[in-house]
């Protein structure tokens, strides 16, 4: 365990040094709090406004989780359809790539217009942003299965669906997981952007509202909370991978 601590110790020291320098500079140069608050001021705000921030974090989390799950579902379904049905895949794949080049964030106002101000426009925005890496990575996994393994299954009479089930899908799971890890960070971004575009609650809403009120330390407090949320979700996905895909040969352990 001390080995683990030793590994992250330099990072902790660096963060502490940056925070200290930040605090000192603000105090020495008398920077106004609405321009750039000191870490201590941000910490105070985080404590004082925690009930409000926590409630907002819950709302944003709800958007992230539902958006992420739906993106995963859409991405997985598309990958399976494209892999299983050649002709359908040839028709759909270019469309998906084309769609990927649309700046999705620009769709946020449209979704507000269509779906209103609550959960659904954020979920819709997250899905259009986050399904792509899921679909793409899973498809790569489905298609990169060892052809000899496929030949082996075919030789004893396995059909397309059975090969998909027995070889391609299990083989694609590590690929799927790396797609999901990208998708979860995109989901947090999607939720915040969705709240910027129009919302009455959530961390993104607090960031936007507080900045119009010049409550800069609240903006930072919400930013910190969003970051914690993002890290938490990322590691939740990684923990899931660790538990369910234990067959992937572990990368050589660091010294």
């Amino acid at each position: 365990m001390s080995g683990g601590l030793n590994r992250i110790l330099p990072a902790i020291l660096l963060i502490a040094a940056v925070l200290l320098a930040w605090e000192l500079l603000i105090r020495l140069l008398h920077v106004q709090e609405f321009v750039l608050p000191a870490p201590s001021a941000i910490a105070q705000t985080m404590i004082a406004r925690q009930p409000e921030l926590f409630a907002a974090a819950l709302i944003t989390s709800g958007e992230v989780v539902s958006g992420f799950l739906l993106s995963a579902l859409v991405g997985i379904a598309l990958a399976l359809l494209i892999a299983r049905f050649d002709r359908f895949g040839r028709a759909l794949y270019p469309l998906i790539v084309l769609f990927q080049n649309v700046p999705k964030i620009a769709l946020a106002p449209l979704f507000i217009l269509w779906f209103g101000y609550d959960l659904s426009p954020k979920v819709a925005l997250i899905v259009v942003i986050a399904f792509f890496p899921v679909a793409l990575d899973m498809l790569a996994g489905l298609q990169s299965v060892d052809p000899n393994l496929v030949a082996l299954l075919q030789s004893v009479g396995a059909g397309r669906t059975e090969i998909l089930r027995r070889a391609q899908i299990p083989h694609s799971l590590p690929y799927l997981m790396s797609g999901l890890k990208i998708a979860i960070t995109l989901s947090v971004i999607g939720a915040i952007v969705g709240e910027f575009a129009g919302a009455s609650a959530g961390l993104g809403y607090i960031i936007q509202f507080a900045s119009t009120q010049m409550e800069t330390s609240l903006v930072f407090a919400a930013l910190v909370e969003v970051s914690i949320l993002g890290v938490f979700f990322y590691y939740a996905v990684e923990a899931f991978e660790h538990v369910y895909i234990d067959w992937r040969p572990k990368a050589a352990s660091q010294p």
Binding site: D146, A151, Q154, V156, G157, P170, H171, W247
Partner: protein, 257 residues
Amino acid sequence: MATGVAVDYTTRRQRNRVLNDIHLSVPKGGFVSLLGPSGCGKSTLLKVLSGLLQPSEGTILVGGMTPVQAARNRRIGLVFQEPTLMPWKNAIENVGTLMLVADRGRARNDIRDHAREMLRLVGLEHAATRMPHELSGGMRQRVAIARALALDPEVLMMDEPFGALDAITREDMCDFLLEIWQRTQKTIVLVTHSIEEAVFLSREVQVMGTNPARILEAVPIPLPYPRDEETYARAEFGEIATHLRRLLKHGHAGKTA
């Protein structure tokens, strides 16, 4: 048993002759090696024999059936250079995978018992629950052989099965394969580019040449079984190896057919 009659294989557009007018017959219970340099089409020939590729001309019969039929009827066991195991399944599950497909409706316990028996046959009963990445290269290839044997095929077709292993493990695996062959009485067709391996293992070596790919000569190996380290030291071993080496050199250089 496997009587390959005039196998030609051409690619779709260019009609490249990958294999030209191959005549091959493998007696039941025999051990035949296809020996040749890389790119001579020996792996292609094995693919055609095992039904993975369709020949463009000629016919092949494995136990009286086409290779595809024979494979469906579990007459053919396949082993590749890479073990091609499923990394998400442990050794015993890997041995059972093909049975799950081929023996639809057979009880899982039954399959498991049979898979365990096959692992015992290849000397890996103790490693049944280990994952492929926890096994050595040689052990993985043994699992692959057990998986092929689990179908109880008549012919074992192996494409450079020891090609990815180090020299010492290779010799171990050769001893192991001969033992399996003696015990199971299977017919074995082995693709290799190692002269020593071919001579040590087979009853007959089909020497292949390039340009165009063809069989240069069928060389019987009269060395008595069981063969062991002593076999390498025998005078006949050296003579046959030298003969094969000359054939390969000649077939490689000569463009005339």
